[in-house]
Symmetry: C2
Subunit: 102 residues, 2 copies
């Protein structure tokens, strides 16, 4: 076979795609992002709705914050989170839609 005929993906592209898919690979983050795609949520609310500990939610939000996938605003002691990456949400909802209609 002719090796010169392959369209290779640039390493940077592969790494970036992997990064996006890694975020979406965890069931907890899928639920969390899906929830945030519907409404702005406080940390406590997320924990209650998804039946997770406050710490677990906060750690996950920390991850998502570092990846710039969510943003938040403060209201007194409460932190209200919203998603901040339309592309990732769009990939998620598309896959969800596909699964539920196959």
């Amino acid at each position: 076979m002719d090796r010169s005929n392959h369209a290779f993906l640039p390493e940077r592209t592969v790494e970036e795609a992997s990064r996006i898919f890694k975020v979406l690979a965890d069931p907890t983050r899928i639920k969390l992002l899906y929830l945030l795609s519907q409404e702005e949520c406080s940390v406590g609310h997320i924990a209650e709705v998804l039946q997770l500990s406050q710490s677990a939610v906060s750690h996950q939000l920390s991850t998502l914050r570092n990846l710039r996938l969510v943003r938040y605003r403060r209201e007194g002691n409460t932190f209200l989170y919203t998603y901040d990456d339309d592309h990732v949400i769009s990939i998620l909802t598309q896959v969800v839609h596909h699964i539920e209609h196959e």
Copy 2:
């Protein structure tokens, strides 16, 4: 907030989505699937093109086989693999396209 107003994802949907994203989360599998989306490949050819050991490729293909994402046919001692899940390939190419055009 009103907990009854959330559109929850069924657990089965979440697990299935997670399964799909997990497959795509690994850089090696991204390259491998992208290669297979372009042409039928032998194990040795994949190893050569992607600069991986024969064993590593074979293990990855075993994973992809179990998930029914690839199929293969035999030709003498050579096994020729092709992808076998249009949806997963479509998600991958879409994300790749988005990354390369943002």
